[in-house]
Amino acid sequence: MTKGRFTPKVSRRTLLKSTAAAGVGILAAPAILRAAGGEIVVGCAGSHTAWMEGIVLPHMKEKFGASILFEGTKSSVNLEKMRSNRDAPYLSVVQMDDPVMILAVEEDLLTPITASAAPNMTELREGATHMDGMWCNYVQPWAGVAYNTDLLDGVPSWTQLWEAAYEGQIIVPSLQNTEGMWTLFAAAHLATGKPLGEAQYEIDAAFDKLAELKPNVLTTYTVMSQAFNLLEQGEIQMLSGNFSSYTLPRKAQGVPVDLAAPKEGIFAMPSGICLVKGGPNTELAEAYLNEMLGAELQGKVAEFASSLPANTTAEVSVTVPEGVPVFGPDWAFVSKNRKEWIERVDKLMSA
């Protein structure tokens, strides 16, 4: 028997068939394969830096071999970036808060998320997908009052912020920041005695109550890091409206801070993720988003940031404080009135 030498014969027809088959194969492959490599820019909150750098970026690099560049800033700045670059977006995915998402939808800056693009969205808890898939919540930190444990044993009630003993000892977030809403709603509740769900609409009463807080307020911030630094140093005793994904990791690092869950209620932070309309590298963007909604990554982020995952199959040991109401406001109402409130509170708190 003579061994014949293999000589591939490739006819034009064979070549066309092979190319077509390869094309179909690529298209049929999961997005994860097609998304491999490449680069996208993700807009997110500055306070997300620790877990974005420590968890998300290495995960994406390992999963897709892709480079994820993230720009950490405020939700409103992310919105402005989308708005200013509407005709040639450079952000592919943005992670920002629900009230700003509403504005982005109104300005037609987002593209809906579908189950075919991000299959993990089907595993999210009820209420985590908004406005027909315009955005989804991924993890949900809770917000209360951060305090310095060297100076205070706790903050059992929101009324403590108003006590005369804390003159100049409190920093509150500006209403320009989402977490700024919590002090306003707490003030509405304390002023009216109504449950937070009803009190949130009693804004005049809330502003009257906020005026009483003024002597205790050292400053209002739009940049949280410096305010938190002052809390850590003991320059202030309480930082109103702070949230679990920022305070509790610092506590775990041995910093003398903790997050109190006042008896009147705590707040659910509305962390959302969306696809930018016309953003570059769609497939990688969808794959990134799908991973952010997936149980594995959500579990890691939620554990680190002491937050609740939106994916119902994610396994975490994190819990929200028990025995206190958890409140999620009417963001459409907030979104509609926020501009007026920002101007009003700036004037009210002006030194």
Partner: protein, 289 residues
């Protein structure tokens, strides 16, 4: 008879000087990235939402007492920052100009190097300095000047001290440049004629260095009146300045017309200061001739 022909050469206008062409790239760059956007910004401030001519944004700004408070605070902070920087910079510039060799190099490095440290880093450093148990309060307590800590953080005083620190090189260097060219024999001549040190300073040295003072003050004032990051970090939102109102208008209120009109007001102040200082410098220089 011989005919002597002479060719008449008209004196060349200064703007025709070919060396002016060297400024062309810079001028084009400024026109593209500075003048054009500013012109569009100004135009926007005079338009309503439908694009028609309107002064509504200016009326809205000047009709709100809060905005006038912010305008006055911005001017006051810029003026006091400039004044403090001048008080520190004037003797420093003399020391720099009179120093020799290594001492001068060290002084120059000390003046320039802090520019390489970001404002954010400086702001955090200042919070260590100004806080209740910070270096300043501890020193004052140790000296027996205070019994309990005084609040320094988030005050206008802290903002002025911080801003003067950041902008100091912009005040020192123009004064230094003038002092270096100062004819040292002039104060000596005044002294030989019996002028007292005080008289020599106020009648000879200070007038001769005024162009540097005016240039440095114009630089510092322009920077101080438009600063955004420094007040955001040092005094926060409770003491807003015009720049903070501009950011708020664009980013949070989404009111382009209001933002552009406040920008135009800020620009008008800065331009008035620069033109005024140029005019003053010209008068000072003219007065000396």
């Amino acid at each position: 008879m011989s005919v002597v022909s002479t060719r008449y050469e008209a004196p060349r206008a200064p703007w025709l000087d070919r060396f002016v062409l060297l400024a062309a790239p810079g001028l084009m760059y400024l026109a593209l990235v500075f003048a054009l956007p500013l012109a569009l910004l100004l135009l926007k401030s005079f338009q309503n939402q439908d694009g028609a001519f309107s002064l509504a944004a200016y009326a809205e700004f000047f009709g709100d007492p809060y905005n006038l408070t912010v305008l006055w605070r911005t001017l006051r902070v810029a003026l006091l920052t400039t004044l403090l920087a001048l008080i520190i910079a004037y003797p420093t510039a003399f020391a720099l100009a009179r120093a020799q060799g290594l001492a001068q190099s060290l002084l120059l490095a000390a003046m320039i190097l802090p520019l390489s440290v970001g404002v954010v880093v400086k702001a955090f450093a200042w919070s260590i300095l100004f806080r209740s148990n910070g270096v300043l309060n501890d020193t004052l307590k140790w000296l027996g000047l205070i019994e309990k800590p005084i609040r320094m953080l988030f005050t206008e005083t802290a903002l002025i001290i911080g801003a003067a620190n950041v902008f100091l090189p912009f005040m020192v260097l123009p004064i230094y440049a003038v002092i270096r060219q100062l004819d040292r024999s002039l104060p000596e001549a005044a002294a030989s004629l019996g002028a007292s040190p005080m008289f020599r300073f106020f009648r000879v040295t200070l007038p001769l260095t005024l162009p540097g003072v005016i240039a440095g003050s114009a630089f510092t004032f322009s920077l101080a009146i438009s600063m955004y990051v420094i007040p955001s970090l040092i005094v926060g939102e409770r003491q807003q300045t015009l720049s903070m109102l501009i950011a708020r208008s664009y980013l949070f209120l989404r009111d382009d017309q209001l933002g552009s009109s406040i920008s135009a007001i800020l620009l008008a102040i800065a331009v008035a200061v620069v033109l005024g200082s140029s005019w003053l410098a010209g008068r000072v220089a003219g007065g000396r001739r």
